[in-house]
């Protein structure tokens, strides 16, 4: 299959081989991945708790978003780059791992949840910006976001414990 050869060529690329063979590269990338991902999860959770009316209720929703969202993106881009570099070192092993597959699906769901919130619920934000109680759509988005990100962390960690347990 064409995809299979793509995964194999990533693995045998110079970058893939460096990450796989250099004894410091993989754990260092993992550490950076952790630092970026805790920034994503932490800043996302701060916004989610505001949407759920559980914290920062005295602060406007738009201000909370301005304070957290840029850092969520910094963290996300960093986690994506470091995660990508980890991925190329063992691409063929990762793609067939069900925990990896579920994690990718959860990331897409978390992204869709955020997109739907920003396209629809956010349109009327000026009318509820300073309210403790945000519209139901916002609360659902906040709750789903917390659930998705907790699961992303769990499935991410599960990958490390199950690599090599699955074969094509």
């Amino acid at each position: 299959m064409i995809l299979e050869s793509l995964w194999r060529s990533l693995e045998t690329s110079a970058v893939g081989e460096f990450v796989a063979t250099n004894s410091w590269a993989f754990p260092t990338l993992e550490t950076l991945h952790v630092i970026f991902l805790v920034t994503v999860v932490g800043t996302v959770a701060i916004m989610d708790l505001r949407l759920l009316g559980l914290a920062s209720n005295q602060t406007a929703v738009t201000e909370m978003s301005r304070d957290t969202l840029p850092w969520t993106w910094v963290g996300f881009v960093g986690a994506a780059i470091t995660g990508g570099l980890l991925f190329v070192s063992k691409s063929t092993t990762y793609v067939i791992n069900p925990y990896f597959q579920i994690k990718m699906i959860l990331l897409v769901l978390a992204g869709l949840n955020m997109a739907i919130f920003h396209v629809f619920t956010w349109r009327t934000v000026s009318t509820w910006d300073s309210e403790t109680a945000v519209p139901l759509g916002g609360k659902i988005a906040g709750l789903l976001s917390l659930i998705f990100w907790v699961l992303v962390v769990f499935f991410g960690r599960a990958i490390g414990f199950t690599l090599g347990m699955f074969y094509v």
Binding site: T31, V34, I35, V38, V41, G42, A55, V150
Partner: protein
């Protein structure tokens, strides 16, 4: 002498201390046995550990952004500290609980490990410096005429603490890679 040699010698030294016997006695407990025989226990403890880092690190980060005047500007330092700092300290408590469970599950791998002890020392330094830094900053902000502007010493302190956090995370990840 290379860093790897240094770490190796550190491990050898740890092996000769009472820690080895202590670690083995932990592995004889029924809780340790339960963790070892339940495949998902360690990944779940590690998930709780990472989520706790997310809470504690991001709370420290948001408080630091306020010091730099980048975020939380509509609230005072005191208000920001009340919003975020409890998450840092509660996060630390959950880090300790999940960390202790990981030690009970894999006592030799953790206690006879140079990265583990480097991490422990770094955490003690981080805790002491954080308490000192936070109380001093909150007090000086409360005493200053508003709007309070952080001195470069305070800004430097905030950055130093974030770097120390990253170092602790680094040591934590490397525990898994030290040959025991």
């Amino acid at each position: 002498m290379s860093l790897s040699d240094l770490l190796y010698n550190f491990t050898e030294w740890l092996r000769g201390t009472w820690l080895t016997e202590f670690a083995l006695s932990i592995s004889d407990t029924s809780l340790s046995f339960w963790i070892v025989t339940n495949f998902w226990s360690i990944p779940i403890f590690q998930t709780i550990h990472i989520l706790s880092i997310a809470a504690a690190f991001s709370a420290t980060f948001m408080f630091s952004l306020r010091i730099f005047g980048i975020a939380g500007g509509s609230r005072t330092i005191a208000q920001n500290s009340r919003r975020y700092l409890p998450w840092a300290w509660w996060g630390l408590l959950f880090l300790a609980i999940s960390g202790i469970l990981m030690i009970i599950g894999e006592p030799v791998r953790e206690l006879i490990n140079p990265w583990f002890w480097i991490k422990m020392v770094a955490i003690v330094v981080l805790i002491v410096l954080s308490i000192w830094f936070q109380t001093r900053t909150i007090r000086s902000a409360a005493a200053a005429p508003s709007p309070w502007v952080a001195s470069s010493a305070v800004k430097g302190g905030a950055i130093a603490l974030l770097i120390l956090w990253c170092f602790v995370i680094y040591c934590g990840r490397f525990i898994a890679y030290a040959p025991v």
